[in-house]
Amino acid sequence: MTEEQMLAGSVKNNAAAQEAFYERFSPRMLGVCYRYAKNREDAEDMLQESFMKVFLQLQQFRGEGALEGWVRRIVVHTCINILKKNKKFSDTVDLMHVHDYCTNENLVPSIMQAKQIVECIRMLPLGYRTVLNLYAIEGYAHKEIGEILEIGESSSRSQYTRAKAMLENILINRNIIDKYQYKNNLGKSVITGNQ
């Protein structure tokens, strides 16, 4: 089934097309949900609610940009709304507690790098993690993040800075990135104007 057929069928509430649509996007979207959620069960709940919204709003998709990007935005917003609804943003920690989180890193399996990095991100406190996900991975600006999370732009910046530092430490401790190489190369900003 082509993407056009899948899209047209899903808009018409065709079950087969919707299932194909779900099969196509759900694995990656569950990965997105998993980065925001506390555990897998919560991630699946987020995924379910997200796809309900996707199917209900699919007729609003104008074909401007990639379908996956459109779906992803709905998924991210749904995850954020669920987290806000459950008031989980109060769960933040200071940078000094990073080492406490790192002590649990032996639970993270070393199967694949992507998986390892996701697990490292999930070690961050929820508030940091959310800001980092939105800024570094989803590409939102701090102003947008402030509006989405109902926090100030400066607060978003500071949380991101702390999250980034915390994650860097975790990645270095797990040898996922090389400390010296990172400091010489990755640590440099390409363009620092908007950080």
Binding site: R35, R40, L47, V118, I121, E144, I191
Partner: protein, 586 residues
Amino acid sequence: MEDNNYRTDFELFLRESIEDFKMIPARKIWHSIYNNMHPDRKWPSITICALILFCVLYVGISNNNSINKTALAAKNQLAYNNNNFIVVNEQTNKQNNNYTSGENTDNKQLKAAQENTTSLFVNNTDNTSKTTATKNNIQSESNFTNNNKYYEAVVSTGLKPLPAKVIIPKNTSLKIEEEPVSQNYQAAATINYATAKVEINSTNTPNQSYNSGVKKDNTSNASINEVELTPIIERNSSSNYSENKVTMLSTEALNNNQAVFNSKNKVQQASEKNEIDFVTNQKKSTSGKQAATDDLLKKEPANIKVDGKENTVSNKQKTVVVAEQKNKTFTPQLSKAQARKNAIAKFKEKSIISYYITPSYGYRTLNIKQDVSKLYGTNSSSFLQASNTNSQIHKDVAALNFEAGFNVTHKINKKISLKAGIQANYTNYVSKVTDIGHSTQTSLRTANQQLDNLRSSQYNTNEGDANLNRSNIQISIPIGGDLKLLGNEKIKWYIGATLQPTYVLSDNAYVFSGDEKYYISEKSLQRKFNINTAFETYLSIKTKTGVAFNIGPQIRYQLLNSYKKDYNYTEKLYNIGVKIGVSTTF
């Protein structure tokens, strides 16, 4: 959303690293979405539930005597609507016009019968008095109670005869005299088959020779003997007012061709199978006999006068039963309905229904189909590489299982019985695991390595403090047999075996990852249909009430793999338990 150019290498590194990160959601997520998006299409689960419910109800209803009686009454009513009946229901202690009908009739039927009845004569042995019941005098109770203790008599002359319950004092015969019929159908009468239940007063010792047809009721103070009898009306066609004899043929005798209980309460042993001819008035031969055929029965209905009324009767009703010789026993041909009824009665006589539960302990056998390490060699990727033998890396333990159901057992001979039924099974064993607290992407090992897909798991196979319940709920149809080894009337010892086609209703399926380090919840690999077999031996202890208690050990083994052929392991479940049940007759 900001452009990527505004990010540092760190953000780009993160983004690229997890760009293709995927997780496989559980199938139930899609089902939930589907049910929410299509609330009117929950048919698969509803249909299966309805089907199971229907099966259970059907079996229950078909085994329920009270409902069968209702169906029988409805059949009788149909017969009343189409035929002439003589219904006499007489009891010595009854007053007024309280004519209750026999076991399977009611007052409505009696009334209908009174309106269309022919005459009934009860001829006492001294021939000094006759008790007559006709439309006009059937309500005259005294006619019936002068000399004899007539309790109940229901005699059918209809196409679909009624079961009759008749109490006949010793040395009393029961005769039927019909009203004269129209000239065209002078010799016409009806086939007269009915199953009569005759009770003989205890003061009258039954003739020894028909003991085989007599059931003694020990629970009654009056020590009433009951026998299932079939009245056969014998027509004397030489007279316009033909005097028909009612010959009572015991059902058992009828089935076994052993004995005939005739109108004078004497039993004659059947030395050989005798035939009975059917004769119609229109095609009566000189010998007075002509075999009835389907052609005869298909003839147009004709009018027959009964009690001065014109009644439409079918040719089948006009068939006359004639005994070849008065003193010769005969085997009448039964109507299809009667034959079916007799067959059902015979089946029920030899059948019992059992209800049982079986608590047990269940476990599994596990074998690997292909050693993946040989296929991939030492250079294989870590998640496809086989580990040591699986028995060394994970620990499974037996757990409590349960089954409940019922079956119908039909006796083939003194030792062998066949049985079939429905049962529900809850099978279970436990895997000791470590819950790693988060999902982990890993790979599924399949027999066909092309199907090796990335999956997500949360448990590793290390023996930890968490338990995975490897349970499923099944419904099965056990079909098998029992063999009686030893026993007397009270205690019997049986061995038995069943084959059980099984459908798995729900399950917790966990399969191994490619590296055998993780359990993956993967229900799509679970086989839905399977076959189990069970072996058992049990003691059956019969109580005074007729209910038997059964108890004994049972082994149940699954013949087919729990999983589909794609999975690289073969798992077969088994359990050992104690079967406890009760059996009762229909």
